[in-house]
């Protein structure tokens, strides 16, 4: 059974009586352990798709199953639990809490989890180490570079050992060197067995994935494996 499965998925926004079709007839599936990129230009509907896949928004047509279950089969409380336990999110704008240290930022999802508090520090230190930021533990988020901020966000996404990481334009606000580091981190996580779903508008970034689903005007226009996958691996040893 695929981790992610969509069938004729659609999303229509209604704004002041005007209907806007953001997604139309989207069908694909992603198995556990894969690294898939969804690529499209601005306004193509890729972010809308990610929000639906991440249980942050609801679709209006078709069907979406995460681990075999639709969003309607979960209670509101359970949806929050799935987001907390099964999914990790990395955003383009990092979304770290200001005036809060790296350690506290990374621990944030644990606050809403059922993980015993005695394990929090150990887990946080381990994921922070895995993104190479052990030396920045007590720094506040405002004292970090863009690349470091995004790696804190990745550590935060990893803390509850999710089954999938949704990365929405994770390199969009970074210079090329920092962006490369972030992509290396994601690739390494994938090699360790994490499922990654990457949203990007850049072909170069998308080519770090093993499969690219291209979206245009809310519809899938291609779904291909990457022939020459980019790997640099100069950061994660």
């Amino acid at each position: 059974m695929s981790l992610i499965n969509t069938k004729n998925l659609g999303k229509t926004y209604f704004n002041e009586g005007v209907a806007t079709n953001a997604l139309h007839d989207v069908s694909f599936s992603i198995d556990e352990g894969k690294f898939v990129a969804i690529m499209g230009a601005s306004g193509s509907g890729k972010s809308t798709l990610l929000h639906i896949l991440g249980f942050l928004d609801r679709h209006t047509d078709g069907e979406y199953r995460f681990d075999g279950k639709t969003i309607d089969e979960h209670s509101e409380e359970n949806i929050a639990h799935v987001r907390n336990k099964e999914m990790g999110f990395v955003f383009q704008t990092f979304n770290l809490l200001a005036r809060t240290t790296v350690l506290e930022n990374v621990k944030l999802p644990l606050l809403y989890s059922r993980v015993p508090e005695s394990l929090w520090n150990e887990r946080a230190l381990s994921v922070i180490k895995s993104v190479g930021l052990s030396h920045r533990l007590d720094h506040e988020s405002s004292q970090l570079s863009g690349g470091e901020k995004q790696r804190v966000a990745i550590a935060r996404a990893l803390i509850n050992r999710p089954r999938i990481i949704f990365a929405d334009e994770p390199t969009g606000n970074l210079d090329s060197k920092s962006g490369e580091m972030v992509m290396d981190t994601l690739q390494k996580l994938n090699q360790d067995g994490h499922t990654i779903l990457l949203i990007t508008h850049e072909t170069y970034t998308a080519e770090h994935a093993e499969r690219i689903i291209k979206i245009h005007d809310g519809e899938i226009i291609s779904d291909d494996l990457v022939k020459n996958r980019r790997t640099t691996n100069h950061f994660i040893k």
Binding site: A80, R83, N84, F91, N95, L111, E117
Partner: protein, 414 residues
């Protein structure tokens, strides 16, 4: 979400905007400080008055002319009525009429100034029994002696003066044996009272006490008394003595209907009850005013919490994306509001207590007596709890607004 972290988050939230948080709780601080100030000064004043009245002795009974005043207009009756004269005094003194009365003295209050060798002072001039004064008010003599029953019967022109009167008229000179002049009458000073300060409604240091017969004959010119003060054998017999007094005076005045009484009898307990009732009503009224100020403070809290929710929309979206439930967000913002007002309450109690100490000292020095500061522990706790309740009530709406935000809308918010 663990309460410890929720608390930490709330504290961080409030400390991020220190001055805003402080300004926000100002309304609550003022409200709670006012409650404490009113409550503790009210309590201190009540204690002071009841202690002072208690000092007069629970066995003291006062008979006044005119019917029992039920409103301000009835007091005129008391002032103008001449129903208490020598005849009534003699009737009350008869053991067969009021067997359980041990002391009886009428009281005559005179308005006027006292003169001595060009020095003038306006004292409280009281025609009374010096022995009774000593027993009932615990007013002791520091120099000289008190006048006796014989002096009263003989309408002796003698006076006992308070310490301030002595100071104003005689300075360092010994006043004993000297004559002071009130109106056209010369009165020989035979005693000086110890310094005492305020005793209920008058300042004992400003007294000039003379025999009531002397006051009637030489100073007031009227035959009736302002009041007759009676002392029962003991406090338990007060009701019995009151009954006997009423029966005696009704028989004397041929009154059959108690509603037509031309006199009324007050006991110290009754006066204490009245004072407590008045202070109680006053405290409730002021507390209501304060409650309104707390509501206004609460609206301020709601306003700022709404601003805070709006400012932190992205944070709310992030927390939801990371697994926070609506309930988590609701309780986080509610805790912030309760913490904010709770801190306001604590600061309010502290400021209110400090002001109360000053107020108590001020009352004490004005009344020339020491008043113990009564820290109202229960009211402080009620104050802090009610301020937290204000936070809870006025925090609900902003917290609900926060919890209902869609994670996507919140994350997109710029």
């Amino acid at each position: 979400m663990r309460i410890k972290y929720q608390f930490k988050t709330a504290v961080t939230g409030l400390f991020t905007h220190k001055s805003r948080s402080l300004l926000t709780i100002l309304g609550i601080v003022i409200g709670i400080a006012s409650i404490i100030l009113i409550a503790s000064t009210g309590e201190s004043a009540e204690k002071l008055i009841t202690n002072e009245l208690g000092g007069l002795g629970a066995e003291t009974i006062v008979v006044r002319p005119g019917k029992q005043p039920k409103g301000p207009s009835d007091f005129a009756d008391t002032l103008l009525s001449d129903s208490l004269k020598d005849r009534e005094l003699e009737a009350l003194r008869k053991k067969s009429n009021v067997p359980n009365a041990v002391d009886i003295s009428p009281e005559v209050l005179i308005s006027g100034s006292a003169l001595y060798q060009g020095q003038t002072f306006k004292p409280v001039i009281l025609g009374f029994s010096a022995e009774f004064m000593e027993k009932a008010m615990q007013l002791r003599i520091s120099d000289g002696d008190i006048f006796t029953e014989q002096d009263i019967r003989g309408k002796a022109r003698v006076a006992i003066i308070g310490s301030r009167v002595k100071q104003e008229l005689f300075g360092e000179e010994n006043p004993i044996g000297k004559n002071i002049q009130i109106k056209d009458t010369k009165l020989r000073v035979i005693g000086v009272y110890q310094q005492r300060g305020q005793v209920v409604f008058f300042n004992a240091d400003e007294l000039v006490v003379i025999p009531y017969t002397t006051a009637q004959t030489y100073l007031s010119g009227v035959k009736h008394y302002m009041q007759i003060v009676v002392r029962a054998e003991n406090a338990a017999l007060v009701d019995r003595v009151v009954y006997d007094i009423k029966q005696t005076l009704r028989d004397l005045h041929n009154i059959t209907d108690p509603d037509k009484d031309d006199f009324h009898v007050d006991t110290q307990k009754g006066i204490v009850d009245q004072v407590q009732t008045i202070i109680g009503v006053f405290t409730i009224f002021l507390s209501l005013v304060v409650a309104i100020s707390l509501i206004v403070g609460g609206i301020g809290i709601m306003n700022i919490m709404l601003v805070s929710v709006s400012e932190r929309t992205r944070e709310i979206g992030l927390r939801k994306a990371l697994g926070a439930t609506d309930k988590n967000i609701l309780s986080q913002f509610l805790l912030e509001a309760v913490l904010l007002t709770g801190v306001g309450g604590i600061i309010g109690v502290a400021i209110g207590s400090l002001l109360s100490v000053f107020a108590t000292i001020a009352i004490g020095s004005y009344m020339s007596t020491s008043v113990a500061f009564a820290f109202p522990i229960i009211r402080s706790l009620i104050g802090i709890t009610s301020s937290m309740l204000v936070g809870l009530v006025f925090g609900i709406y902003p917290a609900r607004q926060a919890s209902k935000k869609s994670p996507i809308e919140a994350l997109r918010y710029e």
